[in-house]
Symmetry: D3
Subunit: 259 residues, 6 copies
């Protein structure tokens, strides 16, 4: 190391530390009314151009695969066989095991598998523990194994694919609760993860309230417009709405006040 | 431009203009009885070697995803941010909006997204308008957004994938009712689009009647042969059919005349 | 040829001939209780690092897509148009046709399509014949055509994708009951093919009994541990099990003896 | 068609017509001093986020592969065998042939092959004609054939790959001098194409003067800074330059006036 | 096995046996004057639509990478660790080693690596042996290792890529002198392999004389036409040639008789 | 966080800390005599199955692209526009800038770009600074920009591709001197990076001396055997060497002692 740089700890991540956040329950609750497409639009207008994970799709979950919660992150690196003994010596200090015992209600486990699909990133017993700890869901840009079990578990799981192999056959857990990528999107711990049949978007914590506010408003307006189009209005009149429909919407809003 | 070429309008497409066609309702009706695999076989024998769109699969629709109708085309090009203001100024002259107000009963909207999957090519409100205009279906080699809505809409939709992003975040609509590619197949307006769980084939308008004729005949024969094989006939005897089964088929046809 | 190599027949495959095997019915029956993930683990411990076919997923079959049986193999090579007449002259000596009349109860037809997805490797009538001959299932790293029919046929079918095209538009059948690759895994005739929602693994014949033995034991232990985790045990205590749970498991085993 | 849309010609491209331009010779000359990386930076600051063609690299040309000129465009669609006779009947009305006789000095032929690499988009005789017409270069997101000849021809050629096949074995020329995509970037006729060992960027005509102005200034500053760094300055002092080097640069500029 | 099929040996390859051939030296010599692009055209007209290997490019060799010779084939399958001991026991019966001691002057070693790029298919010592046995070249749709050596060896080598790994880390040699695929093209032993900077085409043995005849004639005509175009003739007049140039060609041929 | 885990800092990387190492100069010097292929073999025998970076090839450097040195690592994550202002505020605390001022003689800068190729990871001025600080080379699984300059700079540079874009258009630097992946291989700071025309292998620090020892011995033996094969020995006698050549090698070693 260079003597001229005495005070540096050598980790650039500090410079982004202030972007980590903690979103309150009320905001998370309101985000349940916002679709992934609408959240994408609000984020895009706010300057986040690529909030959607590529290739990460619903594997299983309740009808519609509704997913919302706070990101808790796990970072894998490629297997290097000389490091496996260190992982085994570490026992429950294994970052994957640590994280899975720390997560709690409302957390979404986000696993950076570098898009690699040659092993599972977790299997049935670990998934069962996550369910017991009441996580909101699981997201990985890799695979899960034990799909026959996990698909029937009842919680939202989004993956790139499935693979029957154990994680350490191709991957090594390296750290948790740090910044990761997942599906080509940077995720900081505490970001909000929102998923449905359009995929998964990452909502930076400091934008969660805005996505809830603007998103709910947009859902309301678009729901109204969709009804008009179902009733025969043309795109020319309805999308974007002209003065007539804009006025009708306001009337409708007066009759159907926001809750 | 070169003074030696005074009469040219600069668009090669004219040389293919005579291949555009208009298929009558009766033929379309008969094509409902032809599977995509059988249509592929008739087209292949007619010299069309690659009529099947690559990577375009059913997203949603009625059981079996039956799709047949006339192609109405939309061509996207990649987003170029300096052109967006021109699109916005254009308003309802936006080629996508124009097309979606012009399509009608029995049309299939075919969207050339260049196979790009980083944005939706349409969302719930536009899809609702297409349904209101009674289109036969939607086909894109890109994505749709608002999948949670579109998947429950009830009309056949074939896509490469889904994405929550708005089209103009990655794509610009450029023209409609011109020749396009979709899934690596050239589509001329008026071609017949046929889809089921095997995917989507493009039937050139001038071959539609032949596909209906030969296809229905082939479906009839293969249905008969399948019954024989279900009853224990070997491939050696049944596929292709030998004299005994050929004769049995003729007898069966006499008892079960074509309708 | 070189005069110094008089006794060689020129086929290297002979050197692997002793690895071909025949697994008895009882072992196959026991393998029905082993998941693909568990079989993968036993194989991995036995030194087979990549037993899982890449990109080969369930197309259709009974709930959970249970597949187990002996591999009968078909090898395709890319179409070469000058060879088609020889195939046609061959008639029922066509290797695909030969194989499909030879397979029987408990066989899994494994088709090496070189991962190519531009044609089907079989269609409805051939699949019907395979069902009539009571095969245990069909696996291909290419496509099937006539998916609308095959998906409703009731037997387990694992593929890379679907395509409406006939096999000889892109592929030529070359031999059967020889060694092949499928999904990047070498398959010898007589190997055991095991499939479920995690995909497909190839179990070398000489390892089938071991996979049944160790796999059933592992399923039993993991089922017990999963129950403990469902009841609130932590990973620290349960996975791997500490002395308390190890003892509880032994007690449970005494009460629930292996059958 | 819908009676409510009487005045529409059905081609959305008109809405972008005003973006087509004609850049003067002096600007093109000045762009010879701007690298692709620097042009990319100026374009990026001007809001064009993706001006660089993906996968299009230098095949051959003079040392450094310098390429600058006005786009003349050719659009291919996938081969459809039923359309080939129309192309043959068209003879020299073939859009490819028309374009290649119209291009002239300073033009860059830009070929939209949809990224398809299963045939050449031109071969030795056509390339020879382009050279005889004095084009500035050739760019395609497909292949060229006759690479043994074209690589020794002496003009800049940028391609995705090479292939020995004739264009009409996989592609049909459809139009020329219309808008196309190439390497995922929209190109309008008259745009400036700039290439070097970093690849190819598309400069919208209306931004060409700005890229020349800002680009030359940036090249000048960066050349100065690179010298300082070669002489031992740290990034901290030199990139971006602090007051001392900013001042030194101004002094240097006074001694080395812009030409 | 089925008692009803007593005479079958179970290898479909026999049905194509008559397509294997042996091309005489004079024809091979004449093929040295035919480019890959021209051979492609003759083959295409003869109905072989895809004679060109995908992704197989020149790694090294003399200027222009001229390659012509008879195919001697090696087939790899994916590594299966349980089979490695059998290979080791086999020693020099290893199919790769057998083939490499059998090849001779004018042979082209064609290696089917299934397009896999995770290991070399041969390295420096084996390549040195092939050179000592005077092979015409080496073609693989996988990798070679020891590229620093092989690139300086002086014989034409065409590969998909390079990799430092030994073959048996990912591949097992299975047989030689049988039919294989390479780069997606079927190769029978005795076929002619032709390579240059356009890539590699496979010429079925029975078409070699035709490719030499028609190819040389086409090279001659195209060389003449290229000269005309270099001298300013338009495509309209020269490609295809009109009556004037057709006549000039004939005159030129009388003055420059075929040798 | 969970009160039951008081002593954990939440970074799994600690468990691998003991694997970081510092290799002495003499060992690095000896590794200059070992090829990438030979190092791969020694590592493979030592149980490191995948030491070679995928898709990372020489862009430029001295003849043969010899590269050896100690890894200094930079980790990128995908751009997130809301984090850019924090990076700009950080100024020279930017992890990339910090690292590039800390590296020194014999270091190899290893950049984890997640395999992403939509921006450069460094350009000419930064590369110039690295050269001024006397680094041994640069390795990235992304791109560099300013290739026209960097290719003429004279130091070994290994990349996946080139791109004219600035890093922060698609990437954010996150940390340095931590564990990363590059080309699918885990790299710890202090590991030895070895590159040549076969690509790049990562040598764990604790294995460097072994790779030097065994590698030099293997190079010596293989060089001898290659000479024998050049002189006409068969693979049967020479590879592996039989008793006669084994003895000749020992005689040769006595005459050509290791230096």
């Amino acid at each position: 190391m260079d003597a001229t740089e005495p005070g540096l700890d050598g980790y650039g991540r500090d410079i982004y530390a202030s972007a980590k956040g903690d979103v309150d329950e009320a905001t998370i609750e309101r985000l349940r009314g916002v679709s992934v497409a609408t959240a994408w639009s609000v984020l895009n207008k706010a300057g986040i151009l690529h909030p959607c994970m590529a290739g990460v799709t619903p594997l299983s979950g309740p009808e519609g695969f509704p997913l919302v919660g706070r990101a808790r992150t796990l970072r894998y690196l490629p297997l290097r066989e000389d490091l496996l003994p260190l992982l085994r010596t570490a026992g429950h200090a294994n970052p994957q095991r640590q994280l899975f015992e720390l997560v709690g209600s409302g957390d979404v486990v986000v696993i950076d598998a570098m898009g690699q699909t040659e092993a599972g990133t977790l299997g049935d017993i670990l998934a069962t523990r996550l369910k017991a700890r009441n996580v909101a869901g699981i997201v990985t840009d890799g695979c899960v194994r034990d799909a026959p079990f996990i698909k029937r578990m009842g919680i939202p799981v989004f993956t790139k694919s499935v693979h029957p192999g154990a994680n350490t056959s191709a991957l090594l857990p390296f750290e948790f609760d740090g910044p990761v990528q997942c599906g080509g999107v940077t995720v900081l711990p505490g970001d909000i993860i929102l998923g449905d049949e359009d995929g998964v978007v990452v909502i930076p914590a400091h934008l969660a309230a805005k996505v809830a506010d603007d998103g709910l408003e947009q859902e309301r307006l678009e729901g109204f417009l969709r009804m008009q189009v179902e009733n025969g209005e043309s795109l020319r009149d309805a999308y974007p709405p002209g003065p007539r429909l804009r006025e009708a919407y306001e009337a409708w809003c007066r009759e159907n006040p926001r809750t």
